[in-house]
Symmetry: C2
Subunit: 501 residues, 2 copies
């Protein structure tokens, strides 16, 4: 619980000008102002007011006026007076006791017309929405979140503590302009990428705020209004939205049990965004033969592959398939890696691999966008990987996820036999298809009040007309022993007529 | 010093395929591969190799071949064999002893033509460049960096430790999609903004990765190819570059001793970027009357003011001027605040204040760009402000900077009388103009080998034809007692003919 700071930093005169209600005595106006400031949260419960002498001087009022106002508010229970230490804001009151006059400051004429000024309207895009209170739900079949029971708090803490040593702070605190932390680049260069079969130079690596920023940078730099971009359908909505922001020619490419289909829709694409390790959202892995065929096509038809190596670290097989990038002999694959899934989403850490000439431009663009990824987190993450904690954590996640996936498949077969599930070869979710007529949105909405969080499938398709029968059921945040009970509730809901179109 | 992790995560077969030099025995090829892997840093000094049995299985070689190769490299001093624990990479060797064959893997035909694919070339923009080794220089008159002698290590550590408690990690670790940390929004809402006279609602605040990201978001959302944007000249190059990325109509607006001139060049501007608190780079403060006149013009001529409240926290006067935004009655001012200067640049923390409808779009755009600002740092910063450490740090910075500014002005008058200095009313740098013919770039280059870091002035102007006689001399990173000696060196350099055009 943070201490409540002093309120000496407020500009009292401007507070007075803003909140005083003109008709009435100055004392009355001062009372109004203080009541408003408390009601609107600018003065927090427990905060100390300045000495009446100081306040009077700042507001240009007599000290008597101020003293009388403070006394009046003390009588009303809004302030508390303490002998020799002055006045403090009282603990929170029932809302009714404060006349919470809303701030009706009418805008002066000539306000800007913001709608007319917008060059785009990103809020109108279809996107994944997650309930903010999912952590309080008993059956969080939510995707890509965080399980406090698995996270190695002690290991992360040890690494974060290293980055709090004065010598380490001296390294990360200055403005790094466009540079990355060399220790993290080193770990990616000689540990994370080689584990995917990828051997590149350090100047082919750029640290990003997650895969999200990597795809945004590529969209900005490489995609213009007429560029043709293909993306898996169903696919990753956040990447699709990034490309749609730049080009009107985003093509939906079909997916089968081996991932992206190498079909006629690829013709004319200049960029193809693909998730070969575990297709998002279906989780299937693209076999080696198809990978090689895709690369051969890219070279023949002169397109570039953007490989999002989605959840490659989460693999129930002992032999992971090498990344597309590791097979790339003509620098046609741009590679996106994430540390969010395996470290923590909130840290926003990822990386991008591209030819050095392209990284130079991406780095200059990232500088414009935010300069660099916060350096203290880069240092902590580098140390987490260097100590071997990251590998140990991945082994643990794989063991636990394998168990959870098995339990989920068993429970689905028993309690929700109308759902057809794609068998999880890795990753952290199961993709299921219900019977004709299932309305996934209605189902998700019906399940939520019962404490079951699942993700509707339609959001992964370019047009909402598809995926109405589909769901993504995540298991990265739900304990093993809750899985069956949660699936039982899903099974019951499927019987109700209100979950059908 | 991090321990060296095991190398079990390498894909050995792909390493072999990549680095083995085909002509020669398999044993020879394996040696080549290992030498290359060590030379290129994929195998770090001290790293343990897998057991020979494992390696043989992964590579499809006989165990004898592997054992002989490892033994041969041990004889060459590249590996070290330890009884019962296996082989390890030897400590770094003189470069000559490793035949560091560069990787000449020729690109297969059909590589992508990246130059033709670029939609923009941000690396070509003129920008501030800072030497990476400035911390090792005796006279770092560098701008906006970090002084380890002033930073409250203990206070920051205490706040960062709070955010490492398991309960706190549970709050920051999940994916927050487009949300901000409520504790940091609260501190900005009821402490930082009211200290600038600004009283807004919580939904008018967006956390950003510094002012850099705030200006990029605004440029993306509001500025199109034909939008006319005005920016101070000299002005902040990173903002100018952001606007130039979007529009070909960026107008240079003159500046005088009171900041932005309200002259004819403002006509037709749809957006005006301004730094009224301390003009960047001249450090002058815009008086209240000019602020009011600027707002009246904005309303009359229907333009929007982007207020970068640059270094408002660093004020040697006891009475800071209220922000433009605090005077704004028609929601025409978009406000950018920074925590970089006063917390630490490397953390990349700032905020943006705008009408709620605009914040909604900016938030959706930020989601596409990176989702959200790393939440662990948001929590630590919120706690740093809530505990009052931020205010205490600001008081300390102001006290120390006032002394340094005075010492700098005295030293300049004594040792470099040909430089005309703008008197610092606050901020962290002094802006100086030399005599006709001074070549600031040549001067900066001549000073650097003598351990003196200063910033050339031309970079702050839209065209490099201006500012050749000007310099920014920062004092946020140089100790008081070094100032005079550093200025003496500047004074001597000014006498040399090689610093004139």
């Amino acid at each position: 619980m943070p201490r409540i700071g002093r309120t000496g930093e407020l500009m009292w005169l401007r507070l007075f000008q803003r909140f005083a209600q003109p008709p009435g005595t100055l004392q009355r106006q001062l009372c109004d102002m203080l009541v408003q400031a408390v009601a609107q949260g600018f003065l927090a419960p427990g905060a100390a007011l300045p000495a009446s002498r100081t306040l009077a001087a700042e507001l240009g009022l007599s000290r008597t006026t101020v003293t009388l106002a403070l006394q009046a508010l003390t009588d009303r229970g809004i302030l508390i007076g303490r002998q020799r230490s002055g006045y403090f804001v009282a603990p929170p009151l029932p809302a009714a006791s404060i006349a919470a006059q809303p701030d009706h400051q009418a805008l002066a004429g000539g306000a800007a017309d913001w709608r007319a000024r917008l060059q785009m309207q990103p809020s109108a895009q279809r996107n994944i929405v997650k309930p903010t209170d999912w952590q309080g739900q008993p059956y969080p079949f939510i995707y890509g979140q965080f399980d406090g029971a698995l996270f190695p708090f002690r290991d992360w803490r040890a690494c974060a503590l290293e980055s709090l040593q004065p010598q380490a702070v001296r390294r990360w605190a200055p403005d790094h302009l466009d540079r990355d932390d060399t220790a993290l680049v080193d770990q990616i260069h000689r540990r994370l990428l080689p584990a995917r079969g990828i051997w590149v130079e350090r100047d082919e690596i750029l640290i990003t705020c997650g895969v999200q920023q990597a795809s945004f940078l590529l969209a900005m730099l490489l995609i213009g209004p007429d560029t043709r971009v293909g993306i898996e359908d169903p696919g990753y909505p956040d990447a699709r939205n990034n490309f749609s922001l730049r080009s009107a020619h985003v093509t939906a490419l079909p997916v089968d049990g081996d991932g992206l289909v190498l079909g006629p829709k690829l013709a004319g694409c200049e960029y193809v965004y693909v998730t070969p390790s575990h297709q998002c959202p279906t989780t299937v892995t693209m076999p080696l033969a198809r990978r090689q065929a895709l690369l051969a096509m890219a070279q023949r038809d002169d397109f570039v592959v953007i490989e999002d190596d989605h959840e490659s670290e989460l693999n129930f097989d002992s032999q992971p398939t090498p990344a597309l990038k590791s097979l790339d002999k003509s620098q046609r694959v741009l590679y996106l890696g994430s540390l969010s899934k395996t470290l923590a989403h909130g840290l926003r850490l990822g990386y991008l691999v591209a030819p050095a000439a392209l990284v130079r431009e991406l780095r200059a663009l990232r500088r414009l966008m935010m300069r660099h990824v916060p350096t203290n987190n880069q240092q902590s993450a580098a140390s987490f990987i260097a100590h071997g904690y990251h590998e140990a954590y991945l082994r643990k996640l794989n063991r636990v996820y394998r168990e959870r996936a098995a339990a989920l498949h068993t429970a689905l077969a028993r309690h929700a036999p109308t759902l057809h599930a794609v068998v999880a070869q890795g990753g952290s979710a199961v993709w299921v298809t219900g019977q004709a007529g299932l309305d996934c949105q209605a189902l998700a909405e019906r399940l939520y009040p019962q404490g079951v969080v699942v993700e509707r499938g339609d959001i992964f398709y370019q047009t909402g007309a598809h995926g109405q029968q589909q769901l993504r059921i995540g298991y990265s945040s739900i304990p093993l022993e809750r899985i069956e009970a949660g699936v039982k509730i899903i099974g019951q809901a499927l019987l109700g007529s209100d979950t059908r179109l």
